[in-house]
Symmetry: C2
Subunit: 283 residues, 2 copies
């Protein structure tokens, strides 16, 4: 079950070819995207996702996306969906055919696969991998597109294959100064007592929409939150370590670089509490 709609709201066959070979998404990975969680027909954090799409497009000097049109297009996909309670809504905004100056834009409704659900439930074995960048690079080198969610994700995918070859399922990227960055498609969050922490977007990572929503809910429930640099060593001594993302949600890390992290009833209860906090805002 997949639904594919063009930005103008036309639903088209997702198994039919749609992109020309000279589309810059194909030739250069030149475009941006977002993936949004939808439960029972309701998209989560659609506004923040659209805002991030616009920010990514601006970083790539693309025309500003027509957010009202994207909202209508998303609704078309939601209305056509017959595939179960959960749906991943992916928005793709490519620079378009080379030389034509007109972006290619479409939205897809996709099922949430059993593998994703299994990881969400069982947690993850994660390895840390160098990203090769300094944590202060983003501001002085905007051409590196750090903080933009681009279609050029070959490295992100290669890092995940590298993890699998090393009996792990996920990656936490690290900067050259030994601080934590992000996962290839997720945000790192830790708990220390009643404080949730995540690394700052200024370190060249994506501002996480799911992390943002989690922190908002946590603050409302009396938690402290900190957005500040996090050293790799600190990952070993937390009350909870998660990779959070729109569709896999708040996923526990149970193993780091081959070593099992501490687990006990208190930590399990904390994971339930955090997950319920997050979910409660969408009930």
């Amino acid at each position: 079950m997949t639904v594919l709609a063009l930005l103008d709201g036309t639903i088209v066959d997702h198994t039919a070819p749609l992109l020309r070979v000279d589309d810059l998404a194909v030739q250069r990975g030149d475009g941006v995207f977002e993936t949004i969680m939808v439960v029972d027909g309701r998209p989560r954090e659609l506004g923040p996702h659209l805002d991030r799409l616009a920010r990514s497009a601006a970083l790539l000097d693309m025309p500003p996306p027509d957010l009202a049109a994207w909202e209508r297009c998303a609704q078309v996909v939601l209305d056509a969906w017959r595939g179960g309670r959960e749906m991943a809504l992916k928005l793709v905004y490519s620079r378009g055919v080379e030389g034509e100056g007109r972006p290619t834009a479409f939205a897809m409704g996709l099922p949430v696969g059993p593998e994703t659900i299994r990881k969400r439930n069982e947690g993850l074995s994660v390895i840390t991998l160098e990203r090769g960048y300094a944590a202060d690079l983003q501001e002085r080198a905007p051409w590196l597109l750090l903080g933009a969610k681009t279609l050029s994700y070959a490295v992100n995918m290669a890092a995940l294959r590298h993890a699998e070859r090393n009996d792990a399922q996920e990656v936490i990227f690290t900067a050259t100064d030994g601080t934590v960055l992000e996962g290839p498609t997720s945000t790192v969050v830790i708990a220390q007592g009643r404080t949730l922490r995540t690394p700052p977007p200024s370190s060249g990572i994506l501002p996480g929409t799911t992390q943002g929503a989690l922190f908002r809910a946590a603050e409302a429930a009396g938690w402290n939150t900190k957005v500040e640099p996090l050293r790799i060593e600190e990952l070993w001594d937390t009350d909870g370590l998660w990779l959070v993302s729109s569709v896999r949600l708040i996923t526990r890390v149970h193993t780091l670089d081959g070593k099992t992290l501490p687990d006990d009833e208190q930590r399990a209860a904390l994971h339930r509490e955090i997950t319920e906090l997050f979910e409660s805002q969408y009930v």
Copy 2:
């Protein structure tokens, strides 16, 4: 005038859609490519280009490309070409539709645009930009795909736009240790007396097919060649500085970071000599 052929040799309409939205080239820039110069129906360095395609595919854990099939496919494009003496032959090898495990592969014959010819003839204004990577990163971090020619070129394109905003046309990327890397789509070559130098592929850059062919011709004509690290400062004191690439060929850099480089009859003669050396092997 564009010719598009699938890997099996079928010629198809290049203006018709060919790729599904769930092709990983579209979704993730997940694939590799090569661009080959063709003059009067003869491809240049086809063997080295195909070898590099295979190396890039291996770095991305893709199935080894069927090089004999690519050669046949290239010939189909050459035979169908009616567009002038020069043609750019682009080979695209994507991981294919997600979950199907079957690459998408096609070759395009494209005209060489007037802008490329103008730059080839008039030379380039170039700015140096940080690439953000250490020059010794490639070996220890294979998941970063340094040295693979992937479809994830959004950063390369962003760097070129950054150059244009700064009244330049091209970029030389630099490593964190102050050494020279490469251009976004070209290799850096300098002349010092009767020696040609280029930075080593071990610094995380593409091995240049055009640079390789130039060095081969130069060695045969009695030049010395060196593949060794090159410091940024050394770019200011050369007898010749070029960005070399398959289609734009041996292109002089006349301006670096906004300052005009020395030019005199000796340097102009050297540029002619190097260009003729390179061209002579294809006569």
